[in-house]
Symmetry: C2
Subunit: 448 residues, 2 copies
């Protein structure tokens, strides 16, 4: 009979996420008896999450206990697992940083928000070294790639990054009309930068089926247009990337690869359909609206005491890998998952062992062991992997050292930068914004 563990959620105010996790705990008996500590900076949302969790556990008759706190240290003390899902400053600050960059000529922003976000991850990991040094850190907010690499380099904490992007292979299979139970796929790379190195249907290479679809059905598919902002997996851009690099980009990858698909809204529409993809002004607004709608739905469920919350959060294991992974680690079950872990081995050849890469991992009581990846094609390495690695190195080293030059270099390698002055201008404004005080402190040595 397991006695349970303490699972802490940082940024627990996302009811969708937190209640979903509690539901997964309910359906994994190996973790019954556990305690979940919710931590957030928003007391109102925290109370709602707490209420949802208590009702869900009661309805499902699951022995779980809960606590809530505004105090990160209190939440971390004695934790066995810490899940960090927080977004510093919320969507508002992310959007403000985007607008700031747009003013300087960076259409749809320059991902500056990744920096305070990753710095915050490191703060949490440092706190963990003091208050729960043996706990696993499960990083589920972005940037997973840079953030996990930073934490893995700067702390002794066991770091695991998780994402949903790899499920994109299912969308490939769906569009091709393949029954998912007969499909397998492997998608290593960096988070949001993963490539289908193997794709099988009934045991046979399924790439020829994809090629045939491109040849005979893709144009008709694109003519219908995307159904939602998230519908990028089989976009014209994704297929162009497949042709250019030789492997199919999966999940968030088609959104991220190739500045040339993103120069303006018209270009985005050409490559991602009439919404312009996830990251256009149209697609992103749809995403934000969808988030708001979800929040409202969950709030309604929380407030409506007359309807069981288990109708909203059905007692079936979700796609979220967190709880099954915890179950494997705690109860020495063996499972294969898509994980982001340090490249020790190396798992992917050609990259440093202290870079956090995405791969399959065998999880068990022994921990997480990366499944090695055959050498990636030279074309993919030189054309996509090395440049993405270089950008991540600039971010990570900037945060490791507080060297402003590295931020400047990162902007100088942004294809939209037209002059040194443009990059300096954005950097100056960003670092002097009062909301960005933590970054200003870190990058205080301004070299001219």
């Amino acid at each position: 009979m397991p006695t349970g563990v303490k699972i802490t959620i940082i940024g627990a105010g996302s009811a969708q996420f937190s209640a979903g996790l509690v539901r997964d705990l309910c359906v994994n008996p190996g973790l019954h008896g556990s305690h979940v500590a919710f931590m957030d900076v928003d007391a109102h949302r925290l109370a709602m999450v707490m209420r949802l969790a208590e009702r869900l556990a009661a309805e499902l008759k699951t022995p779980l206990t809960f606590s809530k706190t505004l105090d990160r240290i209190e939440a971390l003390k004695g934790a066995d697992f810490v899940i960090n899902t927080a977004q510093v400053g919320g969507h508002a600050w992310t959007e403000a940083q985007r607008s700031m960059a747009e003013k300087h000529g960076y259409y749809r922003g320059a991902r500056l928000h990744d920096l305070p976000q990753a710095a915050f991850f490191l703060d949490v990991a440092h706190d963990m070294e003091r208050y729960c040094p043996n706990a696993w850190l499960i990083q589920s907010a972005n940037p997973v790639f840079e953030g996990c690499t930073l934490m893995a380099r700067e702390t002794k904490i066991k770091v695991l990054g998780l994402c949903h992007g790899h499920y994109g292979y299912r969308e490939v299979a769906n569009v091709l009309g393949l029954d998912l139970k007969d499909v397998s796929a492997q998608m290593p790379g960096f988070n949001h930068w993963i490539w289908m190195t193997d794709f099988r249907y009934k045991g046979q290479d399924a790439y020829p089926l994809l090629d045939e679809w491109i040849e005979t059905k893709a144009e008709a598919y694109w003519a219908r247009g995307p159904r939602s902002f998230a519908d990028n997996q089989m976009s014209r851009a994704a297929i162009h990337q497949y042709r250019l690099f030789g492997l199919m980009p999966i999940g968030d990858t088609p959104r991220m690869v190739g500045w040339w698909y993103h120069t303006d809204l018209e270009t985005k529409k050409r490559w991602y359909g009439y919404l312009g993809g996830f990251d256009s002004e149209i697609g992103w607004q749809q995403y934000l609206d969808k988030m708001t709608e979800n929040v409202q739905k969950v709030e309604k469920a929380a407030l409506d005491e007359t309807t069981p919350v288990s109708e909203t959060f059905k007692p079936v294991q979700s796609d979220e890998q967190i709880v099954p992974i915890i179950d494997c680690l705690v109860n020495d079950k063996t499972g294969l998952f898509q994980v982001n872990i340090p490249n020790r081995g190396p798992i992917i050849q050609g990259f440093p062992e202290d870079l956090v890469i995405e791969c399959q991992g065998v999880v068990s009581g022994a921990g997480i062991r990366g499944v090695t990846v055959p050498p990636l094609p030279a074309k993919l390495m030189a054309g996509a992997m090395i440049p993405r690695w270089q950008r991540a190195e600039l971010t990570v080293k900037a945060l490791q050292t507080g060297d402003r030059d590295l931020l400047l270099l990162e902007l100088l390698y942004d294809q939209r930068t037209r002059s040194l002055e443009q990059a300096e201008g954005l950097l100056d404004e960003w670092l002097s914004d009062p909301r960005n005080e933590a970054m200003a402190r870190l990058f205080k040595h301004k070299q001219k």
Copy 2:
């Protein structure tokens, strides 16, 4: 008593280069008895070089023999050393490729000429595998970095790239007013992308002297302006690079690093002085004029039988490392040189062993052994070395595979590229130019 070796010069029509080499042979007794085979596609210039060489050897009473040929195979047969100094299509074709790129929005060109040039190097190396498989190939025409890497990967020939750029440290010392005999420096990296990792004056770190010069004398130096197109070593751009990356860029490096110094002539002037640096329309024209002037001077010396040619080519060893290196290899002397060789060891950590890097090499009868380099600073790696490596990989893989996508990607990573169409447009025009038939044949599979 040495019996001499056969040294073949491909592209021997440069009288300045060929006669200079003969002069160096005259002053290195260990190589007396050698035979020099001049090969070029220009019979007139070949005849002139032959005459110059014969007169020089006669004047200096040196036992050397010479032959000339338009036939590369004949020149290669039985060679012990092959020096490749040829420029495919000469300056005219290089300039035509530059103009073509300018038309598509690439100010001052897109270095397309490197591609047919490196492909030609590989042709020569392949011929060597048949006709002189044990000979050393000394590559002295550009692109040394990509070209030598390509040959090292695709052939079994012993490849050595040589350049003069590393002597740039002397210019640093001169400007600082240091006596060269008390100065030492180390400058590893990639060819035309080398960084002063160590700089000593009378045994002490001389970087503080550079810092003091920047603080107190640089502005006055810059106000005077450059003396010639080649005067870039202590330019404002070089010092900015030093500040940005933490190490002083040496030789051709300050010309090559940082697109942001090169966006237009005004910007070039700001960073390199009123000539706009070596690579501006002004500086480059000065360079071409200087070349023409040299050719005329050498032609005059060749034709003027009344004046000894040894007055033009004085019997003193030049800065050119070629002959001293051959002397060490042939006669098992030991010397330390600046060489471009495969990164086996690795010599520079973090790069593949089949990439040709620039470093110091101990040369002796045992061959060339690279002197290992301490880890380069993280900032230099992420900010400058990795991106330069990535670009070289695209070039080299493109030439290895004939995959046009890799050329396209290389253009897409050019900071001046504004759209996929722009890159495709230049590539299409370049590949359909009748002068570029070899490249059209190699990249015949055009994927859309």
